[in-house]
């Protein structure tokens, strides 16, 4: 075997991390698949309908749980382990969790949409309950006692003084059985691990310098690469003389394939140096001009191709003497991961390809990479390794594709690590789409009578989906082309997510004016359309409450019938001290609510802001939120995610807009794309979790994004008497609004 078998450097050990990077060759030797003796091919089709695809218990009683979802920093590794531990009657530390890996785990699509707990959490809980039932029934037969008489503790099944270990019972069982789907879950009052604040398993390693991220992987013989990207979208490589670069220290090779240009070196900084030199030598033909940023919202509206009806009820005709109408806008905004994207790939001696990626979807990414390289999907294995937080579709898939394309041109056994530079991440990641929304609403007899909501947006999902979703595949010879975007109207929504108010309104019409063209590359960013839609909707709710001469919280409650919605509104208002809060000069309070996707987590938030009239600086002073994500697995994890959502949404709302000239993206660093800094961090952020034992998991991660924007806008309105409708609320915008009065 010509691949070094040392695991040093690529086994992210640390005790906290349980992802093992298994060589394909090792897999062929059967070392990877616990509990099986047969040699395993490099890539195994995982049958997600079978119990042992989710949980295995070996003869030693070691428990392995498999999830198709990925840890993105949201804490899913910990929460999913809790769910399995609960039903198996063990401690979370006794479970090894294997995450997204096309060679080992079920296909659970993307880790997105706040669906990890609803999807994988529910699947794992059911599988664990089935496993428990199989163990108990087998032990009962062996011990010749009734199953109900058995107790489970310490990985043992006990009956009086006798006991059997999980390992010995499991060894005699056939676990290659279909998922039952009828396993009985533990009753809410019997739960011991679900609902407990189990410390995150990954934090000790991360705060002591253990290898924790794909950026920390060091494979034997690993080369480094940097890609030279074009100056702008659609630019093509006219000519480049690579001979001087090939003579630079450490340069193994310059790879050019049509418009794809990369340099491969022995050491990492050599790649940076060579990339910069190569970029100076490359001559590009410019692509199409970008629109004028100052007029982007009108340009986008002009590209409308069709109108989809999101919701319609009664005959919405906002009229009369109490009508609010406004146009709201959201700019392109970026994910802005603190760690730029990274991908690692290695061609194996048998011609298969192994790719390590912080992608949100190992299976879709595998399909796209295989298509790009003309391989059967089964010849590519994509293994998720954590990266920096992504908050949606960032450069992860592209960096993986860069690495895969380069590795496919290198000798087998030479892994290559592609690290994107900061300016590449900022210029080439797919942004959260710019949107504009026109709202018209009318109040009659103290209630909303008519409501019309027209939104203009691209599709928010251009993930793989085919090789055309990958930059490298578009740049190489025989290029792939992106899928043609189509309007999709579904219950959970996309660009139209949360455009339909949850409030009881007799006459409403919600329309998505679809924009197929994408002058800037866009895709999924935390909450999709819900961020801008809830901003517009909750801003309008505030103005409609004023027209009704009603308190904004009372006005919302007057239009909410769902008891769980009412509960979060009431709790946020009460804990904030909505009715009693005494605010200083220049300060204002604002409130907002949404049920994410109208079918997931409920979140209400009250905020206090401070606006400096002299400078236009707006600061979030404090925020108090209440969230109901269904059965709470890790209350502290829910608080952590929601605090993060509040601060990130505040950053989007106050500071963030992608900038561009007619040729290229210009917000390529942290001075041209400012985000929240410690000087402006709030005095306090409080999140209250409403637990719903026995209710389904609803997910948490994206619930705060829209409500926070709405609440800040409403608080600014309260502070200065002016309604801001264009995101973000920069100093210049606030000063301009104040000057215009």
């Amino acid at each position: 075997m010509n691949i070094p078998t040392s695991r040093r450097g690529f086994l992210l050990g640390s005790g906290a991390l349980m992802v093992s990077f298994s060589l394909g060759a090792e897999a062929q030797e059967g070392e990877v698949q616990a509990g099986t003796n047969a040699p395993q091919p490099t890539v195994t089709a995982i049958d997600s309908e079978r119990l042992d695809s989710w949980i295995r218990i070996d003869e030693n009683g070691d428990i392995t749980v498999f999830t198709g979802k990925a840890e993105l920093g949201q804490g899913i590794r910990t929460a999913l382990t809790q769910v399995a531990a609960e039903e198996l009657e063990v401690e979370p530390g006794e479970i090894e969790l294997i995450t997204a890996d096309t060679g080992r785990t079920p296909n659970e699509g993307f880790t997105a949409g706040s669906m990890s707990m609803p999807n994988s959490g529910t699947s794992i809980r059911n599988a664990a309950a089935q496993m428990r039932r199989l163990l108990v029934e087998a032990a009962a037969r062996t011990l010749a006692v009734a199953p109900e008489s058995l107790t489970l503790q310490g990985k043992k099944i006990r009956s009086g003084g006798r006991s059997l270990s999980y390992g010995e019972v499991a060894a005699a069982l056939n676990l290659e059985v279909p998922l039952a789907g009828d396993a009985v879950l533990k009753a809410p009052e019997a739960l011991k691990v679900i609902g407990r604040d189990v410390p995150r398993v990954d934090i000790p390693g991360k705060v002591t310098g253990a290898p924790a991220y794909i950026q920390d992987m060091r494979l034997p013989g690993m080369l480094h690469a940097r890609v030279v990207r074009p100056p702008g979208y659609g630019a093509t490589l006219a000519e480049v003389d690579t001979s001087a670069i090939e003579a630079m220290p450490g340069v193994v090779r310059v790879l050019r394939d049509a418009d794809f240009l990369a340099v491969i070196t022995e050491r990492e900084f050599q790649a940076v140096t060579a990339m910069r030199a190569l970029a100076r030598l490359a001559r590009w033909n410019a692509g199409a001009e970008l629109p004028d940023q100052a007029d982007i919202q009108n340009v986008l509206r002009g590209l409308e191709s069709e109108v989809g009806t999101v919701a319609e009820q009664g005959d919405a005709n906002p009229s009369g003497d109490k009508v609010f109408e406004a146009r709201f806008t959201r700019p392109y905004q970026m994910h802005g991961s603190i760690g730029p994207s990274c991908g690692i790939a290695r061609l194996e001696p048998d011609g298969t390809l192994t790719v390590w990626s912080h992608t949100q979807g190992v299976y879709p990414d595998r399909a796209a990479i295989a298509e790009m390289l003309g391989l059967e999907p089964g010849r590519v294995r994509v293994i998720h390794v954590e990266g920096s937080g992504c908050y949606g579709h960032n450069g992860a898939d592209d960096a993986a594709a860069d690495a895969a394309l380069i590795a496919s041109r290198l000798p087998p056994g030479r892994p290559v690590r592609v690290q994107w530079m900061r300016e590449q991440e900022n210029a080439w990641e797919p942004f959260g789409p710019a949107m504009s929304i026109t709202v018209r609403g009318a109040v009659r007899n103290g209630r909303i009578s008519d409501f019309a909501f027209d939104l203009w947006s691209n599709i928010h999902t251009t993930r793989p989906g085919g090789a055309g979703a990958l930059l490298a595949a578009r740049q190489k010879s025989d290029p792939a082309t992106p899928n043609v975007p189509r309007i999709q109207i579904s219950p959970s929504g996309n660009g139209d997510r949360n455009a339909n108010p949850l409030y009881a309104i007799p006459n409403k019409r919600i329309l998505w004016h679809f924009i197929p063209e994408m002058p800037l590359r866009v895709s999924a960013m935390r909450a999709l359309g819900a961020y801008a839609n809830v901003f517009a909707l909750e801003s309008a709710m505030d103005e409609l409450a004023r027209l009704a001469e009603a308190d904004p919280v009372a006005f919302r409650l007057g239009h909410l019938e769902d008891e769980r919605a009412r509960a979060v509104v009431q709790m946020a208002a009460e804990r904030f001290g909505w009715e009693t809060a005494k605010l200083g000069p220049g300060r204002g309070k604002g409130f907002a609510f949404a049920r994410y996707k109208n079918l997931a987590a409920y979140l209400a938030v009250a905020v206090e802001v401070e606006v400096e009239r002299e400078t236009g600086r707006t600061r979030l002073v404090r925020a108090v939120a209440a969230i109901d994500s269904g059965q709470a697995v890790s209350p502290n994890g829910i608080r952590n995610q929601t605090e993060g959502g509040i601060l990130q949404a505040a950053s989007w709302t106050l500071y963030e807009a992608v900038t561009f000239d007619r040729r290229q993206i210009t917000s390529v660093d942290w001075s041209s794309y400012p985000i929240l800094r410690f000087a402006s961090v709030p005095d306090s952020v409080d999140v209250h979790v409403i637990d719903r034992p026995g209710e389904p998991f609803l997910g948490t991660g994206e619930a705060a994004q829209g409500p926070v924007a709405g609440a800040i806008g409403n608080a600014v309105r309260d502070a200065i008497g002016l309604r801001l409708t264009d995101l973000p609320f920069t100093r210049q915008r606030v000063l301009a609004a104040l000057a215009a009065g």
Partner: protein
């Protein structure tokens, strides 16, 4: 060419271009993980280390400038089994989401707390002025640094962890 660097108390002879930023040597030659590449521009603080006790952006400092200097990374403060106060505090308060920025935050805080274990909120914010977090973990980071200061104050000076 060979450059001598004293990192975490040990002198290493590193064979690298003297213009190489310290970050690349820490990560590639010394296989240290805590200092992260975030921007390469000195704008985000993910690469923060201590040089002679001062918080320093390792992505923009060439190794040429660091001979004879004491370089300290997060790894030297403590381990999972024997964490330093700053590490214990971040674990106790679960002050991380993705955690990528956290080692840099901790080194900025460590530089502050070594001078002043009871900083004001404003002093903590000032010490973190270069550090960016994208997950929005700021409130927990501030709380963890306050907690670390309490733990460091509670330790007898003779027992105070070096670093």
């Amino acid at each position: 060419m060979t450059v001598k660097l004293k990192v975490n108390g040990t002198v290493h002879e590193v064979d690298a271009d003297p213009a190489t930023p310290l970050l690349y040597v820490l990560r590639e030659d010394l296989e240290l993980n805590a200092a992260k590449y975030g921007c390469g521009l000195g704008q985000c603080g993910s690469c923060m280390v201590l040089v002679d006790g001062e918080a320093t952006l390792s992505c923009v400092v060439p190794i040429l400038a660091l001979a004879e200097r004491e370089i300290t990374t997060l790894e030297s403060l403590g381990t999972q089994d024997d964490p330093a106060p700053i590490q214990s505090a971040f674990i106790e308060l679960q002050a991380a989401q993705c955690g990528y920025c956290i080692p840099g935050m901790m080194m900025s805080a460590q530089a502050l707390l070594q001078r002043n274990a009871a900083p004001s909120d404003q002093e903590i914010r000032d010490a973190l002025r270069t550090n960016l977090c994208r997950c929005g973990t700021h409130m927990r980071i501030l709380a963890a640094i306050r907690r670390a200061g309490e733990m460091m104050s509670a330790q007898a000076p003779a027992n105070r962890r070096a670093g």
